[in-house]
Amino acid sequence: MILEHIGLNEINGPIIVLDGVDNAKYEEIVEIKLDNGSTRIGRIVEIDGDKAVIQVFEGTQGLSLNNTSTKLTGHPMQIPLSPEILGRVFDGIGRPIDGLGDIYPDIISDINGQPINPVSRVYPRNYINTGISTIDCLSTLIRGQKLPIFSGSGMKHNELAVQIVKQANVSDGGDFAIVFAAMGVKNDVAEYFRKSFEEANVMQKVVMFLNLSNDPIIERIITPRCALTAAEYLAYELGKDILVILTDMTSYAEAVREFSSSKGEIPGRKGFPGYLYSDFASIYERAGIVEGKKGSVTQIPILTMPNDDITHPIPDLTGYITEGQIALDRTLDTTGIYPPVSVLPSLSRLMKDGIGEGYTRADHQALANQLFASYSKVQDAKALASVIGEDELSPNDKLLLQFGKAFDERFVNQGYNADRTINETLDLGWELLSMLPKSELDRVSEEVLNEHYINSENK
């Protein structure tokens, strides 16, 4: 029995309230028909007796208390999926917008997903070769990982993401596909991604979900969930290795905040609701590999840190959920170094088990540890130099400064098109470390040092 409810009781921002509803289900989808014939979609977010609180995805503009009729659909938010979604473009709630017609569904999936049972997870081990030295060597991306890019407005995170997509390959050559979700990004950013995918000739392997900055805010809350549902379908049903790019998580979080405040919830830090952590987790934790299924879901969320502040709740909560982060640095960016990866705060938690003998090279971990340690000493030397001047530094500190400069210019800086193999990257690392005296390299054992250290005589 499908009942239509005429009229509304209350409209408040993106929220409407309907009275006299029986049998409404929590998180159920409703269709709202307007007098002018258009329909909108909404979701029940709270039930209070026979009162249902509904968030309207397309916004409430034009709604009045008596020009609508609302129909309960009886099911949660779902999207149709089939292998044909590859190469297609959808809006923020999964409706095709490329003019190629509807999807003939293979299955219809609930976008909320279900948590993966921890015992069914496979611990991610296979590294993804991105061809970018700072990532491959120092914060290695592993298949099934969630590794965000912490950036700021105006920095080159989009370029970096595109470069990763273009260059990424896994050692055993799985079937790669990309799911791209844009949340509140500018139209030209979405266009840049689309063009780059086309240039790289991967467009037929890309599924795009676009919620642009002028699209309704509430749709934005749904966008990443649609994208991840599509990703899970491609990965676990069709056995592909999926790279999911979510940009920009900051806009997403702000949409959550706006929605929360219009619901009248108690705000936590900086006005974000207390459940932002759980909400983020329900997105990020959908990365992984599941036992007995062939594919994998790897996530690269991009977020712009407000005011470049890594302690802001959005990067902060993200960092607690994701398995590391790649942080970009404004100073490097303005000095023209690309990619402007700030090495010290960048980290990959899964790296230690996905590198070394059998994966990359036996000396990888030792080299990475030593590069981190030496580069952090460079910062101390720099701080000292800014007080007493470079000339007054001890010979050792002067060497460190030289090393730091060479590291930034040769190791970090590699350009948009350079695709370095892991061996090239690691050898470059040793070459740079060899600028320092052997006694400075205290994180490496004697044998490894003897094998890879380049004595200045044989240079």
């Binding site: 289900k25 049972n117 997870r121 108690i266 952590y277 007995g292 802001h312 960092g319 088990d353 004697e446």
Partner: protein, 585 residues
């Protein structure tokens, strides 16, 4: 009470209207799918329930079933080496039941009811058993003997005893007649409400350390068996890594590892690694002594809140058998956030940063369940709690860190700049402390070496002096310092890199016995003493550094095996041989 129906739904919070017969903290089943929930608030016209599963699809008017008892978990053989979610649902069985993703409303008994245990019944007919006494035992894993304890709420005369043999968890092994003449069938398992601490005879003052094999902890900031420690640190500072290291190597009999609102892949890692590792004490796989509670960040938030209590109740159960247990809670901040989230849904008045005003009392209740106890059966057991704290923005002044600091006596502060330099464990030696030092000093003096405490103090002093000197170095550089101060900086580097920093991935360095820790401190201080004498003769320190002794001292940790430290004496000899050319007395 079958006419209880749902009135409103908001996230994990469900309310019923009118007067219900439900009692506070009672476990209930919500809706047609029978989702597990718990009553958290009752007023004259409204009853509030927090639901431990996803509430999407629930509608107003669906029934709510009462269970008649508070949220309990089942205690019995079969817990060990198992993995549960926050309300003790077995994840392995859940996987076989509903596949790779966790479905809703699946009720599976926590313990395998089909498995047969090799039970030795120790009670005899006519025995009078008090609550908490053992009536039978069975080998639970190859490392742990499980003692079946009478529920602390019961006591009475044994009137019937089954012979020893193979029994399942729910088989009756003895019958008991209590004071009122009522006869109880006692099986291998019992139930216990998770929010009530299990009773003990008395609290005992702990004078024994929990040895972790981690040098900075054992030597500088030791924790007592039965103590509570906090590990605060921003993301990426190595909280989980430190917890893993302690869980792997500490000398507790039993480890309860609670992954509370953390990453799914981390739990998989624990599962996998612990299965491969061998416990140095028993020679058996680590999983044989470990119980995992995994409530990852995307699993329902109310179950996250319960997971901490489930973990501590399991720890208490094994403590009552006379075991030393250690519970890792990773992370208590996620638990506090779950409290905040539910409190927000209840529209309670928020205190600091939106956390509810009862946060400190909940934290203290939890940490007070740690301790070294004399159990009801007369044996001594302990629970040590090591709680990770994830302060927002790495700022230790936030409420969870501050309140945890009040209720724990060990504070291992993780430091971002150490982590950036990949100095692990990134425990900052100037801001961390341990209040257990005094009570434990006798143990170290008697069991390790009479000089242990004085060595420890000298090491701490050198590090403090270095921290002070670094203030100057930052301003004017190290070159202008006099040689005796340069020596302090050199030796402090040896201590930092060669002693405090520990490589978790190195076969030898991942776990170091306290005896070797002492020998290492001893040789570093010996080197310092000798060098001090040389510097006192106005010989430039550069003459000493070029000999390579400091670098050798740093490499020592990788070279000396854990079962034979004669190499340290050899190195001492080498120091004195190399330095004789300076003619020191």
């Amino acid at each position: 009470m079958e006419n209880n129906v749902i009135y409103s739904i908001n996230g994990p919070v469900v309310t019923l209207k009118g007067k219900t017969g439900l009692s506070m903290m009672e476990m209930v089943f919500v809706g047609k799918d029978k989702l597990a929930g718990e009553v958290i608030n009752i007023s004259n016209d409204k009853t509030t329930i927090q639901v431990y599963e996803e509430t999407s699809g629930l509608s107003a008017g669906e029934p709510v079933y009462s269970s008649g008892s508070p949220l309990t978990i089942t205690l019995g053989p079969g817990l060990m080496s198992n993995i549960f979610d926050g309300i003790e649902r077995p994840l392995q069985a859940l996987k076989e039941n509903s596949g790779a993703f966790i479905g809703k409303g699946t009720l599976i008994p926590s313990l395998d009811s089909e498995k047969e245990w090799d039970v030795t019944v120790t009670a005899k007919v006519g025995d009078y058993l008090e609550g908490g006494q053992s009536y039978a035992n069975c080998p639970e894993t190859s490392a742990i003997t499980h003692y079946c304890l009478l529920s602390p709420l019961l006591s009475g005369e044994v009137i019937e005893v089954k012979p020893s043999g193979k029994y399942k968890v729910n088989d009756t092994v003895i019958k008991l007649k209590d004071a009122s003449g009522k006869i109880h069938d006692i099986t291998l398992a019992q139930k216990w409400p998770i929010r009530t601490p299990r009773p003990v005879k008395e609290r005992v003052n702990s004078t024994r350390p929990l040895i972790t094999g981690q040098r900075i902890i054992d030597s500088l900031f030791p924790i007592a068996k039965g103590g509570a420690a906090a590990i605060p640190g921003g993301f990426g500072t190595g909280k989980t890594m430190t917890q893993h290291q302690i869980a792997k190597w500490c000398d507790a009999d039993i480890i309860i590892y609670v992954g509370c609102g953390e990453r799914g892949n981390e739990m998989t890692q624990v599962l996998q690694e612990f299965g491969e590792l061998i416990d140095p004490k028993t020679g058996k796989p680590m999983t044989e002594r470990t119980i995992l509670i995994a409530n990852t960040s995307n699993m329902p938030v109310a179950a996250r809140e319960a997971s901490i209590y489930t973990g501590i109740t399991l720890a208490e159960f094994y403590r009552d058998m006379g075991y030393h247990t250690a519970m890792m809670a990773d992370s208590t901040s996620r638990w506090a956030e779950a409290l905040r989230e539910i409190s927000g849904r209840l529209e309670e008045m928020p205190a600091d940063e939106g956390f509810p005003a009862y946060l400190p009392s909940r934290l203290s209740e939890f940490y007070e369940r740690a301790g070294y106890m004399k159990a009801l059966c007369g044996k001594e057991g302990s629970i040590s709690i090591i709680g990770a704290v994830s302060p927002q923005g790495g700022d230790f002044s936030e409420p969870v860190t501050q309140n945890t600091k009040r209720f724990t006596r060990c504070f291992w502060a993780l430091d971002k700049s150490l982590a950036y330099a990949r100095h692990y464990p990134a425990i900052n030696w100037t801001t961390s402390y341990s209040e257990y030092l005094n009570t434990l000093s006798d143990w170290f003096t008697e069991n390790i070496n009479i000089n242990f405490i004085s060595h420890r103090e000298r090491i701490a002093l050198i590090l403090q002096q270095e921290a002070d000197l670094m203030e100057i170095v930052k301003l004017i550089g190290a070159d202008v310092l006099p040689d005796d101060q340069k020596l302090i900086i050199e030796i402090a580097r040896v201590i930092r890199v060669g002693f405090l920093q520990q490589n978790a991935f190195h076969d030898i360095d991942t776990y170091v016995p306290v005896e070797k820790q002492f020998a290492m401190m001893d040789v570093i201080l010996y080197l310092y003493d000798q060098c001090q004498k040389i510097v006192a003769q106005q010989i430039p320190i550069s003459q000493i550094t070029k000999l390579g002794l400091f670098d050798k001292a740093i490499q020592l940790k990788y070279e000396i095996p854990n079962d034979d430290f004669s190499g340290i004496d050899d190195f001492k000899q080498q120091i004195s041989n190399t330095l004789t050319k300076f003619n020191i007395a």
